[in-house]
Symmetry: C2
Subunit: 344 residues, 2 copies
């Protein structure tokens, strides 16, 4: 019996994608019986000081644009052609910005190995025609592959420095989950697996809405009791929302890194909290603050708050989510921040 | 049928006791059909600038020593004689420091109304002859009364300012829980009830051990992923510990204010976190820092860490609680703080 070893492609090469590439490059060498040594990383080609980013990465083993000063293992190969990058690959790691997923899947459709397995590290939900969709489900459907997810309190720069972190892998197929865990876990990056894709993935999206509420508390100079209560109520609404739309969402998921831990980290640091704090403090609009404070980066929380609101409105369930609704009203309806606390 | 209205006594008059007295004084007036208007507050007598504290409180309606600048309702009567304070009382609110509970119960035994009901706001566990005991159980047993508990993210000074907070009331007898909820809840102090005394009460004690671990993270300048992971792992050990020693501990309890919310607040602020941070940063012993930084207040977390360790050692379960054990070793065994992260 000959065993075909898994060939890995990382689709995406931003900050998080590059950190994951570092982990994967090292791990495939640890388990040569399971994985092929050479790992592809699909890189959206761009010029950095007149030179192609893929060439820089392949020559210097450093993603100078998105993860400077960190050496990638020499078995990471940057490839600007998406289809070439996935050729013969059996494990696909999706780690690119939300807005590029549709185009990427369109190109990949019909062009990947039939027995490929995918995992999504993309945070966010998909709203299509007013309905809720998970990005992992979109990948599964479009490519006809099993798709797991990985979410947690995972600030990329800290993991790049090998500081202790945890993460949660949500799966439907346990064998695939164990394979991805082998590929992604390190002593400083501990992964637990749970059979609840929807719960894990929704945590990653909805936490940003709660972080806006936490930031409003900070901007209003609210006490620690209040902020802790807001985070707790937010977690309860995340759980309720997930349950409402998906079967099989588990309580335990919210105790995992993707749940409370990611929520705690996001409500302490993170840009959603920061912009909301500035809004509560200065009264400037979220759009203006996003423009002046974020250096071209986009706020996820406001977009998710809008999408969640559309979905809840359609189902006539807005009143059951006072925190989500208050965030929506503060961001989009000019409602005063202090109202948020009165509605809880 | 004549209805006997409930007479309330608050046993304790520190910072938290005085804040609770303010709430209770107002609430009994809101529900005159249920509660008698006059409320007793047992005050351990002391002299403040040459005058008795009880006299000051009864004349000025202000606990100048433990809650200055906050007026208590005029129906709060400060009483220095413990037995007089509980005469005819049917609702007993225990809110005094842990170390005074034994003496207090000894005096009260056989001297309270047979149909009295109690609630404990005291945080901490009791270790007797190496075994674990809950303070609410000690009260129940000694006085032969049903005893509920109230715990949560409840920094007293913030509640005194009527900032929004939540709290969790753990009960065995639902009717009594509803009565205490009526007595204690306000629009800014929201109470949820749950049939799990042990879970609620252990949260209030064990969170201080986790706060020491969180403070160590801060002192080591650990990243946000790491601190969030430590808090999460701490919550899981709290849950596991509670389950190990008591039946009927519920998952939901840890989602309540007494669980995650109190833990978040305690791991952000609070003296256990602060002293642990200073220890990790300066290397000075906990005892020395307690002496120099706390102005005579005592650290709960180190004591609880010691008690928990004794109990786990006796049952040969230390290895199943790496975080609790690491905190114990850092505090009492001179183990380096950085070891804490390596053990997780």
């Amino acid at each position: 019996m000959s065993i075909v070893r898994e060939k890995v492609t990382i689709i995406g090469s931003g900050n998080w994608g590059s950190v994951i590439a570092k982990i994967i490059g090292n791990n495939v060498r640890k388990y040569p019986a399971v994985f092929q040594e050479s790992v592809n990383m699909y890189v959206f080609e761009e010029l950095v000081q007149g030179k192609k980013l893929t060439e820089i990465i392949n020559e210097t083993q450093e993603n100078v644009k998105y993860l400077p000063n960190v050496k990638l293992p020499s078995n990471i190969y940057a490839e600007p052609d998406l289809l070439k990058s996935v050729k013969d690959s059996s494990l696909l790691i999706f780690v690119l910005p939300h807005q590029f997923i549709d185009g990427t899947l369109k190109t990949l459709k019909g062009n990947i190995k039939s027995d490929a397995k995918a995992i999504s590290l993309i945070k966010g939900v998909d709203v299509r025609k007013g309905g809720l969709d998970l990005i992992s489900h979109v990948i599964s459907r479009e490519l006809e592959v099993d798709t797991s997810v990985l979410m947690g309190a995972n600030i990329a720069s800290e993991i790049a420095k090998e500081e202790f972190s945890e993460s949660t892998l949500g799966y439907k197929n346990k064998d695939n989950a164990e394979l991805f865990k082998l590929l992604l876990e390190t002593p400083y990056f501990k992964i637990s697996t749970i059979n609840d894709i929807a719960g894990v993935e929704l945590c990653g999206a909805l936490k940003n809405v709660v972080a806006i509420a936490a930031g409003i508390c900070d901007g209003l100079n609210a006490g620690q009791n209040t902020k802790a209560a807001v985070i707790r109520i937010g977690l309860m609404e995340m759980k309720k929302f997930a349950r409402l739309f998906y079967d099989g969402v588990r309580d335990e998921t919210f105790f995992e890194s993707c749940g409370i831990a990611d929520l705690i980290a996001t409500c302490q640091g993170g840009r959603n909290r920061k912009i909301a704090e500035a809004h509560a403090f200065t009264g400037k609009s979220f759009a203006e603050l996003e423009e002046t404070m974020l250096n071209g980066q986009k706020l996820q929380g406001t977009l998710t708050a809008m999408e969640v609101h559309q979905i809840l409105e359609k189902k006539d369930l807005v009143d059951q989510f006072p925190l989500f609704n208050s965030v929506y009203e503060v961001v989009f309806k000019d409602v005063k921040c202090s109202q948020l606390l009165h509605k809880l």
